[in-house]
Symmetry: C2
């Protein structure tokens, strides 16, 4: 079953994805995936055709966590190690990835992500692009900046609730050119092992995202192109790439500075 | 003005803190601090005495961010560097800090924290305890585990909307014994500089927390004691310390493993 978050003329909501459109449902993170409840819009519609809706990021997480050095099998020699991404860096299918100026190479990474349920169990799976300012990692030891810019975590297109996470094929496509396909079976640590490690310390809950690492190639993003993560099991996550807002120069007031008198 | 999140017999809500209790208000992150709106409970009460309410964590953030190496002035020689803590690690005044077993020394750090408004500006300020599993930092380069356990981010007791963040006195008290008092004026980088740095890349919004670094001493936590962060400007944040749940042994099913068939 595929569950999406969609924007439509009457608002924003959840839906089961069918071949001919979307069947609207109540918040599936409240009911659980086994007890989905149909809902109607204010105008009485329970079904929307594909053309009447737009896919949003399938989750609005509070925690986004990824695994450092979890690519090929050689990484097994290192202890498992997690990093956090800002929850607000998540964007959905079709939303622009904005490249900050002056930070050097920025890579896309095609990953499988676990979507967490309210009780901490796995709700389902989706695709994610773990956008990373590669050159910044050398000086930004905690990666908060290197992986933390606005728009740096595209995910979607929907949540697949039935999937063997240890055999998901992932392909990264940069502006129409494939960098090749790889399976999650080649990750140093698979989904079960990663989730066991994180479960030993990290509080996780409804809509949280666990990025499982990139088993295949990654590649640099260029403004004016499109980056696509695709999988036969999970669909297509495509995002245009554009130049981000110019970095504020020295002395430029930050939005954080304009406060209601607290610095007065 | 002091704004708190409280639990009372009729539910959970926001309130302005007065000497004789709490004046209930609508969500201040929706209205902004300059347009607070009084509300009544279902039973018509607009004011609650101190004895009828319990302080909760003043925010439920999506992003909690701290600054690495931002203590004494020598740290200015290093570039600013941020780390993320899990949003779900936040607990309020009086809630237990749980010490995981087998991870060595766990320290308290007394910090000033900025509370962010919906538009990304500063809404106000509160106290935070940046609990850190010190020995883990040596092998956990991204600090996601070392700073990321459940209950590792006590904050409160309320949000102060009027404050000079560059001159806040902070004292760390471990089981009644003061480790001394220090001012935020001695931080390598003060609030304005930190918020400017974070504003250059990090998406922040309503209820997010920015931990500004510990200007004073930190110290190890012991189960059965109380850890207190206090400030003449911001009040008292006290938390009991206890032993956390035993670490799951190898082969123990993690909560993340019990899913509704997704691993079937």
């Amino acid at each position: 079953m595929r569950i999406a978050r969609i924007a439509h003329p009457e608002g924003i909501g959840w839906a089961v994805v069918e071949d001919d459109g979307f069947d609207l449902i109540d918040d599936p993170f409240r009911t659980g995936p086994d007890d989905l409840r149909p809902v109607r819009t204010a105008h009485g519609r329970s079904h929307l055709p594909v053309s009447a809706a737009r896919l949003l990021a399938p989750v609005q997480p509070r925690t986004v966590v990824g695994m450092a050095h979890n690519t090929g099998s050689a990484d097994r020699e290192l202890a498992p190690e997690a990093f956090l991404k800002p929850a607000r860096s998540v964007v959905g299918p079709g939303a622009a990835v904005e490249l900050p100026a002056g930070v050097g190479r920025i890579d896309a990474e095609a990953e499988l992500a676990a979507v967490i349920a309210a009780d901490g169990s796995v709700f389902g799976w989706t695709l994610a692009n773990d956008v990373t300012a590669r050159d910044l990692q050398a000086t930004d030891a905690r990666w908060a900046q290197a992986k933390g810019y606005r728009t740096f975590t595209p995910c979607g297109p929907w949540i697949e609730t039935e999937l063997d996470p240890e055999r998901v094929q992932l392909e990264l496509v940069l502006n129409g050119q494939s960098l090749g396909s790889a399976s999650t079976v080649h990750l140093a640590r698979g989904a079960v092992e990663v989730l066991d490690y994180l479960g030993s310390f990290l509080p996780l809950g409804a809509q949280d995202l666990v990025l499982l690492g990139a088993p295949g190639a990654f590649g640099p993003l260029t403004a004016g192109t499109t980056v696509t993560v695709r999988s036969p099991q999970l669909g297509v996550l495509a995002n245009p790439v554009r130049t981000g807002p110019a970095a504020a120069g020295p002395g430029t007031p930050s939005p954080l500075r304009t406060t209601s008198g607290v610095f007065a």
